[in-house]
């Protein structure tokens, strides 16, 4: 029962990663792409780690994975913010004739 729930959560995380990766090729706007990257970074990452924790049970292994989750939760939005700030300050403007702009 616990193994089945873990497998379902792992494949749900892989589905979120797939949605974010296909969105990278779907949008032509840079800031829309950087918005979609949060889907891979936080949602897919945390769902897959939750599946791994449920499958392995409560021991030393899952405590280490919890540390990786905490690290990813702090680091990934910081990276995205720094890249968007660097692009905006350097004058990376939006394209004018963009039909896919949100």
């Amino acid at each position: 029962m616990r193994s089945v729930a873990g497998h379902i959560l792992i494949y749900l995380g892989i589905f979120f990663v797939m949605a974010g990766t296909l969105g990278l090729f779907r949008y032509r706007n840079f800031y829309a792409r950087i918005l979609l990257s949060s889907q891979i970074d936080t949602v897919g990452f945390l769902t897959l780690m939750a599946g791994v924790i449920i499958r392995s049970g409560f021991n030393f292994f899952s405590a280490k994975i919890l540390l990786i989750c905490l690290l990813g939760l702090i680091i990934s939005p910081l990276n995205t913010h720094v890249i968007a700030r660097s692009a905006y300050r350097s004058g990376y403007k939006l394209e004018k004739d963009d039909k896919n702009a949100p």
Partner: protein, 86 residues
Amino acid sequence: MIDYIAMILLASFAFLILIRIFLGPTIWDRLLGLNLLSPKIIMLIVLYSLMTDRTYLLDVAIVFALLSFVSIIFIARFVQGKGNIL
């Protein structure tokens, strides 16, 4: 067997993001691709260490997360204000 399928799917998505890094017109697109590639490698390491029951491989994942953090922040601060280098 079901872990092998998950790892193959993750590796194919990492390959798609490599194509995005090659195609990216400016350096910020390449930085975004590097930022998206590092969580996928961490997921692959975690799935492999779950599959083979080796706890010490998780230290590699922690070190990889910290290294991606340092490299992306320093490259982005270096490029800021200078325009498109590559």
